[in-house]
């Protein structure tokens, strides 16, 4: 369920980063008030535990396939929601850096989808409510199951919304939702089963760990209202700022660059212009692909109305292809030259 950098736009990435940073700051403040420094190594080691446990294949009876542990819910159940959220954040950071799961820009999205919904919605509103009546195997099962399913459904819906707002894919809302939600229902059921099995085991073996987590001071009362209001404010402000930036930097700037470039071209003295076109005709090794400029401009004008779809006239396309190939070749050549020089230096030194 990890979002990838390639699928999000800078605006969506930025907004989700801000939201995640807000929740993380709130969590850190809550933990620091708690002043339980013992929890820091516990969070670290538990993060590593989730990381390692994700490698275990839990075979699903009767299907022949297997599921994995997500982590957000079990971390909340064992450590508390704030600690769970921060631990999820560090797990996802390491996954993004070392395993290319998700990405750095999409990290905000991923922490939110996988951490926020399970730690701050599913855990306090569902899991804790059911468990409050007292622990029993059945209650642990029901609570973990329901909380895992709802947490994952919300997370999957988050993925859908983030992808749609980013506009990098052509996926229509309906089919995408119809694809994502049922898949994550199945994943949620497995997550619920695994979580309840583990929590029930730990509760039987060492009840104090579980009970301390859910009734201890650390959990306190999460003011969901406060968190959500804060998030909404952050989202609106950053959304506004980022989209303003985006519009200034991409379209606006490009447009003005185009304009200035156009004016400069018109005012260019004949001398420079002639020299340039002389160079151009000498460097042009594909003269057959030279297309008349007016034709291009007309087509370009027609196409440019459609945002983000670059000019598709034959002339510019061929120029683009040739230029693209040249750019890549230059990049590769530069890399190879550096390698060769370095190797030679080493040989000389040796």
């Amino acid at each position: 369920m990890h979002m990838a950098d390639a699928l999000i736009s800078p605006v969506v990435g930025g907004v989700m980063w801000a939201a995640t940073a807000g929740v993380a700051a709130y969590s850190i403040k809550k933990i620091q008030n708690d002043l339980d420094e013992k929890k820091i190594p516990l969070m670290g080691v538990m993060g590593a535990f989730i990381f390692a446990t994700q490698m275990i294949n839990f075979s699903i009876p009767g299907t022949g396939s297997s599921g994995h542990l997500g982590g957000g819910l079990i971390l909340s159940a064992l450590l508390g929601p704030y600690e769970g959220f921060l631990t999820m954040a560090s797990i996802l950071t390491i996954q993004a850096l070392f395993f290319a799961d998700g990405g750095l820009l999409a990290l905000g999205c991923n922490v939110f989808n996988l951490g926020f919904f399970s730690c701050f919605i599913a855990y306090p509103l569902i899991y804790k409510r059911i468990i409050q009546k007292g622990y029993s195997t059945q209650r642990i099962f029901g609570a973990a199951m329901l909380a895992a399913i709802i947490g994952l459904q919300l997370g999957a819906f988050g993925v859908v919304l983030e992808t749609l707002f980013s506009g990098k894919t052509e996926l229509p809302f309906g089919p995408f939702v119809a694809l994502m939600q049922p898949i994550h229902l199945a994943i949620g059921v497995v997550e619920g089963l695994v979580t309840s099995a583990i929590v029930a085991f730990v509760w039987k073996a060492r009840p104090e760990i579980i009970e301390k987590a859910s009734f201890g001071v650390a959990i306190g009362n999460i003011s969901i209202k406060k968190v959500v209001t804060g998030l909404a404010i952050i989202a609106i402000i950053t959304g506004g700022v980022f989209s303003w930036f985006a519009s200034v930097n991409s379209d606006g700037l490009e447009w003005s660059m185009f304009k200035t470039a156009g004016i400069e071209e018109l005012e260019a003295p004949d001398g420079i212009h002639q020299t340039m076109s002389a160079i151009q005709s000498e460097t042009a090794f594909l003269p057959d692909y030279g297309f008349k400029a007016p034709e291009n401009e007309q087509e370009q004008g027609a196409v440019e109305r459609e945002e983000s779809w670059p000019a598709v006239s034959a002339g510019t396309s061929v120029a683009g292809l040739v230029g693209g190939a040249m750019t890549l070749a230059m990049a590769a050549l530069a890399g190879m030259i550096i390698r060769l020089v370095k190797r030679r230096k080493k040989r000389l030194a040796a």
Binding site: A4, P41, I56, F99, F201, V202, G290, K342
Partner: protein, 269 residues
Amino acid sequence: MSNIINSLYNIRLLDDLARKETAIHKIHPLMKLLTTVVYLTVVVSFGKYEIGSLLPLFFYPVMVFALAELPVKPILLRVLFVAPLIIGIGILNPLFDHQVFYLGGITISRGWVAFFSIFIKCGLTVTAAMLLIATTGMDGLAAALRMLKIPRLFVLQLLLTYRYISVLMEEVARILRAYSLRAPEQKGVHRNAWGSLAGQLILRTFDRAQRVYEAMCLRGFTGEYNTGGYERIRVWDLAYLAGWVSFFAITKIYNIPMFIGSLLTGVVK
């Protein structure tokens, strides 16, 4: 099993690479982090049908690979490992976007252009993140995060998680080996053992955390994490950041391949 061994190998490989001492490795971690963030933002800021103007951005990974003397194959293999997911989502583009255009007599669908654009972006962003860690290392990155005023608690927790991943992975590998020896010809862990298998590990993890905490206390841990001073930012580090950022800005503003192509084909008179 092979999954765990691969992951362990991957972490150690990146750890080892980060210990090299090339020009890129010596650049201040914060500058490398900022360069990466700007790079990623520029890469994803291109529209879904843009491929040409993305290409100059290949220069950045190529340069870092070459200057930092990193092995290309293992890192690109990781990138390919992620590709199926991106292909899975990206492949839906050609299904939903049927509009076509003609290029030198060949019909190309817009959906495929969008797909390739996503594919290239995926390759570039994933590579950039891995290059950051392969040239900076986790400790360097943590120092950079602290300089950005990320709370100490989070950075400390991130470092601890990272430090214990290999320990716990080895433990999980041992548990799974023991399990598979007692449950031959079985795919995955049976339902009856879900709770006890992972639960035992949790209990041991809690005990381990207690030992870690005690060991930290014996070494003077009082809730603060003392990192010592930070590396100083030199002029060269700033120049590195400024150089790349201006290059990214130029590629964002001007379509460089189009410019080169026009020069070569003589399209623009």
